[in-house]
């Protein structure tokens, strides 16, 4: 085989060359470039020569620290309290800017929690990156199972021989055909804080009791709002994949189950679900990867705000690389994202492997 591929197949190679060339130029090379550039201080445009900096970018981005703040005490050793009776703590700044703690220098507060009288503060050298990472993971954790489950539900509903069922198939699939940018723009109107469709509808349904909410302007609801929209947008696509899986299951298996007296749930449990195993693995991996790549919705709807509540890794990679012309920083995020997705995909494959 190998000899046939390499020797007697010149025309074949010639035909394959343009395709290979494009793939190499736009996928393979950039992939390795990202690795290389993440080890330098490359900027998009800069008069200074590029320098190799080793793992400094990763250190600057991934650095974390945990400090415990003791409440301030007076000379008698009593805890100093303010008017509301709350203990007073030294400011985090006194640590991150102090020469006493060089390891925390330049870090900022990511989040904190109290334990007893003390407060634990998690410091990060790149708080925005960590917020983006946390948001992305949260997005994946919620969107992947919910979207897969909704898509399966729709597929089961649609996989029936009813008059006009094709109308529903088309309806559910429609959002997939529309560009995500257009969808995001439309949903920005739906979520609008003053007279958006969602607020109007909620107001109407609650007879005016609901006063309106700025869905994308509130850090608490911005990310959930984007999740809901993202689930709605791609659910039709996964529904079609589930449907294809459903239709590969032999109808005789259902008849055999009927003869044994299986209930609807037992039919699903013993026939449908095992028959969808491979489809489920595919869908889970595809949704996970798509969810990790969350960008367009953020770019169109919130730009990462408010208060970094919708920052994501891909958005940060683009923002740093092109917005701030920090190519090495963007590359570093890309590499971290790649390793993350690779690890999760491998874990998923291992968890869903065929057990002998």
């Amino acid at each position: 085989m190998a000899s046939k591929l390499t020797q007697s197949n010149r025309a074949g190679w010639a035909f394959a060359l343009p395709g290979f060339g494009l793939i190499a130029a736009f996928i393979i090379l950039p992939f390795f470039f990202a690795f290389g550039l993440s080890l330098t201080d490359q900027r998009l445009v800069s008069p200074n020569a590029t320098q190799f900096v080793g793992l400094e970018n990763y250190r600057d981005m991934l650095g974390l620290g945990l400090v415990t703040l003791e409440p301030e005490r007076d000379e008698a050793g009593e805890i100093v309290r303010d008017e509301d009776g709350l203990p007073q703590y030294p400011r985090v700044r006194t640590i991150t800017r102090s020469d006493e703690y060089p390891q925390y220098s330049g870090m900022g507060e990511w989040f904190s929690w109290s334990s007893g009288d003390t407060v634990k503060v998690v410091l990060a050298s790149d708080v925005v990156f960590w917020r983006a990472l946390a948001n992305t993971l949260l997005f994946v954790l919620i969107v992947a199972p919910v979207q897969a489950a909704c898509a399966l539900g729709l597929a089961l509903l649609i996989n029936q021989r009813l008059r006009g069922i094709n109308v529903f198939r088309a309806l559910y699939f429609m959002p997939v055909v529309v560009s995500i940018v257009v969808v995001s723009l439309l949903w920005r109107f739906i979520y609008d804080g003053r007279d958006g469709l969602l607020n109007s509808m909620l107001g109407f349904l609650s007879f005016g009791a609901f006063e309106g909410h700025d869905w994308l302007g509130d850090p608490a609801t911005a990310l959930p709002a984007i999740m809901a929209m993202s689930i709605w947008q791609a659910v039709g696509f996964h529904m079609v994949i589930w449907l294809a899986g459903l239709q590969t299951i032999s109808p005789t298996l259902y008849e055999a189950a009927d003869i044994e007296g299986a209930s609807k749930w037992q039919r699903f449990r013993y026939v449908t679900w095992p028959g969808l195993r491979n489809t489920a693995v595919l869908i889970l991996i595809v949704i996970t990867m798509q969810a990790f790549a969350l960008f367009a919705q953020i770019d169109v709807m919130t730009n990462g705000g408010p208060l970094d509540s919708t920052q994501t890794l891909v958005f940060q990679a683009v923002e740093r690389g092109y917005g701030r012309q920090d190519i090495s920083g963007g590359s570093t995020i890309s590499v971290v994202l790649f390793l993350l997705v690779l690890t999760i995909s491998l874990i998923q494959r291992w968890l869903t492997r065929e057990r002998k």
Binding site: T252, E255, A256, D258, I259, E260, G261, Y270, P274, G275
Partner: protein, 363 residues
């Protein structure tokens, strides 16, 4: 007590009626085969008995109880499908115990019942395998095992051997025959293969176009076919049909002749044969004896000889140009182009009215 009775059973899909009023009685412990060409409704009929298809009208009784509107599970039946319908993700053991799992039976009950079925089918060593590790015959055995575990009053088989290769088909056919002897349960078996029908059945039901053509034991059907269709359907090679002229009818006998046939007298068996009409004379290829051209009752020229070892099949062109097939014992050699005569016993021939042939378009 598990006799099955169908009374004027009909089935329509929209406007198309596929089962046109069928009456069949299946006694307890009987092995009944539904046979017929594809599209005759035999599988539909079986699926109606199983409860996988509704019965449009008529009644279906199993064990003295009308089950028209009863769920498949409650009918006391088990079904074996052509495509096995075993679950690929379960082991053989789990597949066989599936019905018990569904009804929430205990571990012990499952174990004993599966062991018992596996013992009957001699497949204890396969219990922990998965279907992908089994051959076609073994898979079908799993499906039969699952049916046995259900302990049904009636077994239903829907072309269970059609997906197997020829050698396996024969051994599985024998196994199913033995299984019936061992269990003594009523079995209904659908096939388009007349060998399966002839060898397995206590009673054969021949179907065509949603109607019963004849019901009877294999030998009854072979020797006394009720009509042209049954005559042509059973037996291999199939029965020869010679168009003849009815010269005269006397009582239960008719005198017939044809250009290639010497005048003979054949029993009419109560069929409407009228003097002066054209009729169809049926003779099985096995009942033809080759003789010298001048002595035979049929005259023709040998066109092709196929020697099978156990018999020799000879294609003959009769004098009027029509075809005749003779199955001769063992290695009889008749060279091509030779004029030959055939003799037969008129008592073994059948006479059918011409109208039946018109309705049939002989195959």
């Amino acid at each position: 007590m598990a006799e099955v009775r169908l009374r004027n059973v009909r089935k329509s899909f929209g406007k198309a009626e596929v089962i046109k009023g069928v009456d069949i009685d299946i006694e307890d412990g009987e092995f009944v085969v539904f046979v017929g060409p594809s599209g005759c409704g035999k599988s539909t009929l079986l699926r109606m008995i199983a409860g996988l298809e509704d019965i449009t009208s008529g009644t279906l009784e199993i064990g003295g109880r009308v089950v028209n509107d009863i769920q498949p599970k409650e009918r006391g039946i088990a079904m074996v499908f052509q495509t096995y319908a075993i679950f690929p993700h379960m082991t053989v053991r789990e597949n066989m115990a599936f019905g018990l799992t569904i009804s929430g039976a205990g571990k012990e009950e499952k174990k004993t019942k599966v062991q018992e079925a596996a013992r009957i089918l001699q497949m204890e060593h396969l219990l922990d395998r998965r279907p992908s590790q089994l051959s076609g015959g073994q898979r079908q055995r799993v499906a039969i095992g699952r049916a046995i575990v259900r302990d049904p009053q009636v077994f239903l088989f829907d072309e269970p051997l059609s997906n197997l290769d020829a050698a396996l088909r024969m051994s599985m056919r024998m196994e199913i025959g033995k299984l019936h002897q061992t269990l003594g349960t009523s079995m209904i078996y659908v096939t388009h293969d007349q060998v399966e029908a002839m060898t397995l059945a206590d009673k054969i039901v021949v179907l065509r176009g949603g109607e019963v053509m004849q019901v009877g034991s294999p030998m009854e059907l072979y020797h006394e076919p009720a009509n042209l269709f049954v005559a042509g359907f059973l037996g291999a090679p199939s029965m020869n049909f010679v168009e003849v002229k009815v010269e005269g009818v006397q009582g239960h006998e008719a005198r017939v002749s044809a250009p290639a046939l010497e005048p003979i007298t054949v029993a009419t068996k109560g069929r409407p044969i009228v003097a002066g009409d054209t009729a169809i004379l049926g003779i099985r290829p096995q009942y033809l004896r080759p003789v010298a051209d001048a002595e035979g009752m049929l005259h023709g020229t040998v066109e092709l000889t196929e020697r099978l070892g156990s018999e020799t099949v000879v294609d003959v062109a009769l004098r009027d140009g029509s075809k005749l097939i003779a199955a001769l014992p063992e290695d009889t050699v008749l060279e091509r182009g030779r004029n030959v005569g055939f003799d037969f016993d008129p008592a073994q021939a059948h006479l059918f009215p011409r109208e039946e042939a018109m309705a049939d378009a002989p195959h």
